[in-house]
Amino acid sequence: MRLDRLPTLRINPSETCTLHYNGKTSAGVAGDTVATALYANGVRVFGRSLKYHRPRGLYSLDGECSNTCMAVDGIPNVRAENTPAKNGMHIDAQNVQGSADFDWMGFMDKLDWLMPAGFYYRTLHKPACLWPFALKQVRKVAGLGKISPDFKMKGRYAEIYPTADVCVIGGGAAGMSAALAAAEGGLRVILLEARPWLGGSFDYRVSPYDGEKALYQRARELAAQVEAAANIRVFKHAANVGLYNNNLVTAFQVGPEGGAFDERYIEIRAASVVVATGCIERPLLFENNERPGVMQVGCAHRLARTYGLLPGRRAVFSIGHDLGLEAAVDLCDLGMEIACVADIREDGQNPDLLLALAEREIPLLRGWVAAKAYGAKQVKKVTLRTLEGSVKRQLECDLLVASAGRTPLTGPLTLAQARLRFDAHTGYFLPADLPAKMHAAGSLTGRNHPLAIEASGRLAGLKAAADCGANTAEAVAAAAARLSQLPGPERGTKLVMAPVKGRKSFICFDEDTTVKNIKQAIDMGFDVPELIKRFTSAGTGPGQGGIPGHNLPLFAARYQALAGATPVPTTARVPLVPTLLATYAGAHHDMCKRTPLDELQKRDGGVFRRIGVWQRARYFSEDFSCREEVLNVRNNVGMLDGSTLGKFRLHGPDALKALQRVYVGNMVKLTPGKIKYSAMCNEDGCVIDDGVVVKIAENDYYFTTSTVRAGETAEWFRYHTRYDGWDYHIVNFTDALGVINVSGPNARKVLQKVADADLSNEAFPFGGYREFVIQGGIPVRAMRLGFVGELSYELHAPASYMVCLWQILAAAGKEFGIRNFGVEAQNVLRMEKCHIILGVESEQRTNLLDLGLGFLWDRHKTETKTVGTVALRQVEADPARLRLVGIEMDDPRRAPRDGSILVDKRIRGYVCTARRSFTLERSVGMALVEAEMAALGTRLEIYEDECNGQKLAARVVPMPFYDPQGNRMRM
């Protein structure tokens, strides 16, 4: 039965939903989480623990531990406490053999003595042959949840990148006050709240805020103000996951059912940040402290007030702060029997709450604590002891509300490099100093009085506004004065654990780490929390340290009892709460470039591959040897889309100097109408690019680069002339101009049909550059090049005309049997001619001379220094360099794979490109080999991947393999 008339409810009992769990159908209501819906249907055991397969149940209701991690619609490790219930969801328990209630692996709980801290580091390694077997078994049982490698994530994932002046993390009273204060002057404010509603710890409490209203009413009042403010942007159900330099705040937001997204990643750039994340509870350490039926104060209270579910029938409270007393009173009023409240504190309780307990005849034991919970799958009984352990009392109950104290959520501050120090008064780890433009507010600072929480929020919001240039000095002073008049941070409890041995007192629920394990680790010398964490795994589970984060350093300090030692917290890391990788991936648009001829080539049967940022047609048939494409170019004529080539205009009075700086060739010798092939080196003399340069007019040049270097070329020029103050300018034409390569002995015949220029060998010879018009309307820049070793025209035309130009050429070439050839055919053709492709025939260490391109280097340039030439001079006589050589395979039908290594007793080089040549009817290629193996006729052995020791044989042969005199290019 739901308590369906409470004013604090966040559910709508009139709207139901259906979940499927354990072969049964469970009914939930709108607003339920998966966990609360199951709880309403009597589910108490939600899953089993990692090592010991202990039953686990609701504990925090905020997903602070893996207790209620479940598989939801096939997705493992979903935090059921934080996940909204949706109609038709299929839920499965995790880490069970059988069911959550009856787990065949439950016997593991009896074997804890076999698994001391770090047992897998220390045992199962001797004899050595045991470890591979043990490893498999450990891996089988380790990890939570199972997912298929080919599981396809459903859902819609999005991302947004908002900017704000002030970002407030935490939508409780302090956060809302901060947001309102920061927004007063018109600044842009973003408010992040992890829960689906604003209000924080005020949201569900009926205690008085002031004389007129209750806390929950105040929360709603503030929320209405925040949501009405035009300059405050509220992201609810948006958990903060990261905080980086320069106040980059990241979060993920769960979308409403039927909304535009299921989850989305939020990346906020803010000038100032207010962290008002509040506190969670510090778990109480006692025997069986994670048994289903043991839950935190906030969990029990919110189950009733937010979800309308009484957490049990008869409860015992073992608490250490006033929120526990408040919850006991309220739950009693809601109809739950409170058997007893054991308060760790001897004194310091709120007198009003003590009076309320007395009025309800709820027994209060001061200085008592829960020592042990009983019950196999659900709490049935509890032992309470005095703090020193001398007196005990047992009480029957089905609910044990347990909490040692509170602990601030300082994760965002830690990520921002704030130093935390232990505060003996509150017992909290509090920031000793905050980074610039970052402020903390609310109960995070130790304040618990509602008015003080709000006042600290307002003060932080005003300070944040000042960070953005707002004049808030007076307001800040007033807010600070107001805060100083309100109650300050309250004294916290000092108790670390109940007086028990700790064999089954769990300090980390996710990793089944007990107090005993921590003692073992410390006894073995792991004496600081960071080491203990790694050795015992405490705090490394899905809860991201939520449960052990505070207790681990406290216990480590207490156990070692070092004089003067203060507890040191472990480090929080992103993501602060578990997030789906799909959410990080967001919409995942695959941004790639396509040439102007993309669609035409697809229509012609192009098989595309991603090459750098481009999608390119690599093949035009299913025959990936490209035999027909290659032979058609050799014997007839083919067309290639070369639009990805880098293309640039360089102009200005100092353009020539810039060319001289980056190219190894001498560009003074350039004359209009002729092209010059040259290369660029880096400072080490290694070749980074090659291409051709054309002089268009005085101080005006056009040059090409390789596809992969196009993106960096302009920056390369600017970088290497940055101190010279030269007056030149560069325009990137890479996308502006498409390129069609018409190659083959019939290329001239095709082009002559449509061009308005004389294309004879005399009028337009090899190495020439001309500008003419195709079919009276398309302007082209044409180059006579021979990359594939045949008569070739490289036509550069405005990209918008490219489809039209291609169609014109295709029509003109129809009578000659013109056909497409792709990148792979081009690769074979140029390889037969031994024309290199940088990045294929070279790698990072390959210099100009290694590749035999020394002839491009003009050593007599004097006007400007050329990048890389100092290094080239130094290595010129170095005999230990690799050399590019031609190789021919002994077996003419079998070429090695690219990248295969050349070996004798050691690696002597590698194959750059090798293919079976249908033109030459032999298998040839190029390889980079050590200089001593570069002599013609040298025998080489090639080791391929997976060759099983069967090496291939080759020998060094002269280059090029095809048309060594180059007659065909010049025809």
Binding site: A158, Y161, T163, H651, G652, H729, N732, A799, C804
Partner: protein, 226 residues
Amino acid sequence: MTRIERRSPVQFKGRIKKWEVRDNWTVALAYEDEGQGPFLVDLSHITRWDLQDKSLSRFNQPPGKEVPELPGSCRLQDGVLVTRMNRTQAVIWHLLSGAPDLPAESGYTDVSDATICLALFGPNALAVAEKLCALDFLDPGKQVPFLLQGPFSHVPCQLVLMERGRGFDGGLLLTCSRGYAESMVHAILGAGAEFGLKPAGKERFTDWLGTAFPAQDTSSRKGKPA
């Protein structure tokens, strides 16, 4: 004989209701079912010039079409948007009217084919943009129109914010390398689906520009058709 025509790399799936041919371009003037906005209009056919010189101030002719002083600032007059990119570079986009011939000075380069040009405007247009980039279009410290340069859907872009209305209403012009056309349009339409973003024709853009900049003579048709 193949008809000489120029093709935009942007191909919307919507059905064109009205179009015209200008300077070998087929320009979609209106699409069927353009919706209520936001709208995405392909302006890749408009003439765009790159202007680079050591001293850009010497190109301040004719009056009213001066190159703005500060990088990032823009000037719109007679349908021509002049944007200062950096110390030595500006771009000139002929948004409405056709462009005259490219000036003879060597500093000018016609880069119309180098990029795509898209207009994204209408209700929630800036919310669409926020899903694709971290650039701050809503910075109250900047007066429209202004230029931002940076990644938009991970692609380097130039973006000119032309209008900023209530909330996320507004409009911007975007250019990026032509090769990214298909990916960029896919990303923008995908991001805008939740807001009802649809492709629209040039007329929608002209109307919007006239509303956003009432002082503009948006109906001018000087020079060659755009």
